[in-house]
């Protein structure tokens, strides 16, 4: 019985995503899509992937990470780097984009493991600050690095283009604070939706499997999990690196949606990580569908409030605070349950 319920729940989640895709196709073909909305479609997919993957770390594994944007940054840069390097080798943009996605996922996942090994020993708020620090370091390094390519191979520098010391055939690929420019705009809404579905497939199937149960067991009670023979380090790392690698995928999508990619505090800083965390918390910890809905609603909200101009971010902030208090305050929870009881009672009396 339980199995079926799970299957139905997951199917609904997939159906929502596919439904959204169909809806957008209809709106676009009937000309009801503003250019503003069109520009928002790929970012929406990116944020959904980010939120779902962060939920794996925060909701399923139960560890607070404030550096998720750092993994997105790694994915974006490694993906765009690949696409630009391979411009002469693989002419097809779509094929390059496909491999870039794999590479972005791989690079972010490997860094997830490298960072996770030392960091996941820390607990709670300490883990949070260290992940924030890692995110900032990644952003900072990618903002300062120069990488060029010539006949003899790759050249790195932290100073400027000339100190790369390349010959005439050299091309600068990552130009310090200017980042990577000239990446073909290969990301489309349909590809975005496919990647969202893929993310959901990985995360939902992981949760409902042997490894997923081990991860959630560690979250619920680390000591008990150890006592039944669960390898804590292995499963923590697994969850953390899968989460990182999906963020890497979102990053590649991001990098291929803009012609110029630079690491700024706005796109890859801790503020971005925090915004994704807000999606996850408001959507409900461990609730994957909630993350999707929260990511979509909260990304659209400031855009829908655009008419209010300068007031929109202020309203966003107030909505956020009020929602948190309404959702999590012990008093509000009590009041809600009293209210619900009253409704039930009234219904009974009416019947």
């Amino acid at each position: 019985m339980k199995k079926n319920k799970l299957l139905i729940q997951n199917s609904i989640t997939y159906a929502i995503i596919i439904g959204c895709w169909i809806l957008v196709q209809i709106l676009a073909s009937t000309g009801h899509m503003t250019s503003l909305m069109k520009g928002l479609l790929v970012p929406l997919c990116i944020y959904v992937i980010m939120a779902v993957s962060l939920n794996l770390t925060v909701g399923i594994l139960g560890e607070l990470s404030l550096g998720h944007a750092g993994f997105m940054c790694l994915g974006a840069f490694s993906g765009a780097f690949f696409t630009n390097c391979m411009a002469n080798v693989i002419p097809s943009v779509q094929v390059r984009f496909f491999f870039a996605l794999l590479i972005g996922a791989l690079v972010a996942g490997v860094f997830g493991i490298l960072i996770g090994i030392p960091v996941l020993r820390l607990r709670g708020d300490y883990l949070a600050i260290v992940t924030l620090a890692f995110g900032e370091i990644i952003k900072n390094l990618l903002n300062a690095i120069y990488v060029g390519m010539d006949q003899s191979g790759f050249h790195f520098s932290f100073k400027d283009t000339t100190s790369l010391g390349m010959d005439d055939t050299g091309v600068v690929i990552i130009k310090g604070a200017q980042g990577i420019t000239g990446t073909p705009k290969a990301a489309t809404f349909t590809i975005g939706i496919i990647l969202v579905l893929l993310t959901l497939f990985v995360v939902l199937n992981l949760i409902n499997s042997r490894s997923g149960r081990a991860i959630m067991a560690i979250r619920d009670n680390r000591i008990a999990a150890e006592s039944v023979g669960i390898n804590i380090t292995k499963f923590k790392l697994m969850a953390f690196s899968i989460s990182a690698s999906l963020a890497g995928v979102a990053g590649v999508l991001y990098g291929h949606n803009l012609s110029s990619l630079a690491a700024t505090p706005k796109n890859f800083g801790y503020n971005q990580s925090i915004m994704i965390l807000v999606f996850v918390v408001l959507g409900g910890l461990g609730n994957i569908r909630g993350s999707i809905i929260a990511a979509v609603v909260l990304t659209m909200l400031p855009e829908l409030l655009r008419g209010l101009n300068d007031y929109r971010m202020l309203i966003y902030a107030i909505v956020l605070i009020v929602m948190m208090i309404f959702n999590s305050s012990p008093k509000a929870i009590e009041m809600r349950s009293v209210f619900m009881d009253k409704i039930k009672k009234n219904r009974k009396e009416a019947a």
Binding site: N205, G212, R213, N221, E226, V228, G229, N231
Partner: protein, 252 residues
């Protein structure tokens, strides 16, 4: 050969000898009790046996194998499983899933097979469900298999902890105050369950308990711990009639 042979283990925390020169021998199939006043070091002994702490001195042999200094995970795989004094369930998981986590090392498929839902996933999951339901049935928890573990009543939570421990297929089961917080009826029922587990699972059981009715009712042998040291050990009736034991519990 004895199932568990502990020789002269000691551990101190900041100069305080929490367990001092503790030895015990438990034969296969025995129901053994570890009693003593509060703070005597009983739970510390459990923590030493399960690798939560490493003993400063002494050796622990499980079924002839030296397990001293091994990690909690390794010791579980060697064959010791335990329950906790303050219940430690996987609260957000279902009752069924709690037991399935216990089965983790005995029913395997890789993470990739799980994510891609390859045939082995379905096959092994089916076996796991069957095995877990069997265990739940023993503890009459099969009807609540879909409940969240934290929604179970207290007594059922204690039983679920035992079921989860048994799922790891141990040779030796450690129960830390299994009857704590239970009413006399529940305790009587628990005594039957513990006996049933011993007989049907071919289990050796070491338990910590304060409820003397339970101890005298099911334990064959006892060790009394006081201030981290063994006060006396032997047959249950002999030990319980020892005046030193009575003094240790009630004072001079």
């Amino acid at each position: 050969m004895a199932m568990l042979e502990v020789k002269n283990i000691s551990i101190s925390f900041g100069g305080l000898k929490a367990v001092n020169d503790f030895s015990v021998t438990i034969e296969k199939g025995q129901l053994y009790g570890l009693i003593g006043p509060n703070g005597a070091g009983k739970t510390t002994v459990f923590n030493l046996l399960t690798g939560v702490y490493k003993p400063d001195t002494g050796t622990i042999l499980l079924d002839g194998k030296n397990i001293t200094g091994r990690s909690t995970i390794e010791i579980n795989q060697d064959g010791i499983a335990r329950t906790f004094q303050n219940i430690r369930l996987f609260k957000e998981l279902s009752v069924l899933d709690n037991v399935k986590v216990g089965l983790h090392n005995h029913f395997k498929y890789s993470t990739i097979e799980g994510i891609l839902r390859l045939p082995r996933y379905y096959k092994v999951e089916k076996q796991m469900n069957e095995r877990a339901m069997e265990l739940l049935k023993v503890f009459e928890l099969d009807s609540v298999a879909d409940y969240k573990a934290s929604n179970l009543p207290y007594g059922a939570q204690r039983k679920l902890e035992i079921a989860r421990a048994l799922a790891t297929e141990p040779k030796l089961l450690l129960l830390d105050e299994p009857a704590a917080g239970m009413n006399p009826n529940e305790t009587a029922e628990l005594m039957d369950t513990i006996r049933f587990v011993r007989d049907n699972f071919d289990m050796t059981i070491l338990l910590i308990e304060h409820d003397m009715k339970l101890v005298s009712g099911i334990c064959e042998k006892l060790t009394v711990l006081n201030f981290g040291q063994v006060l006396t050990q032997g047959d249950t009736q002999t030990v319980l009639n020892d005046h030193r034991v009575i003094t240790a519990y009630l004072g001079e």
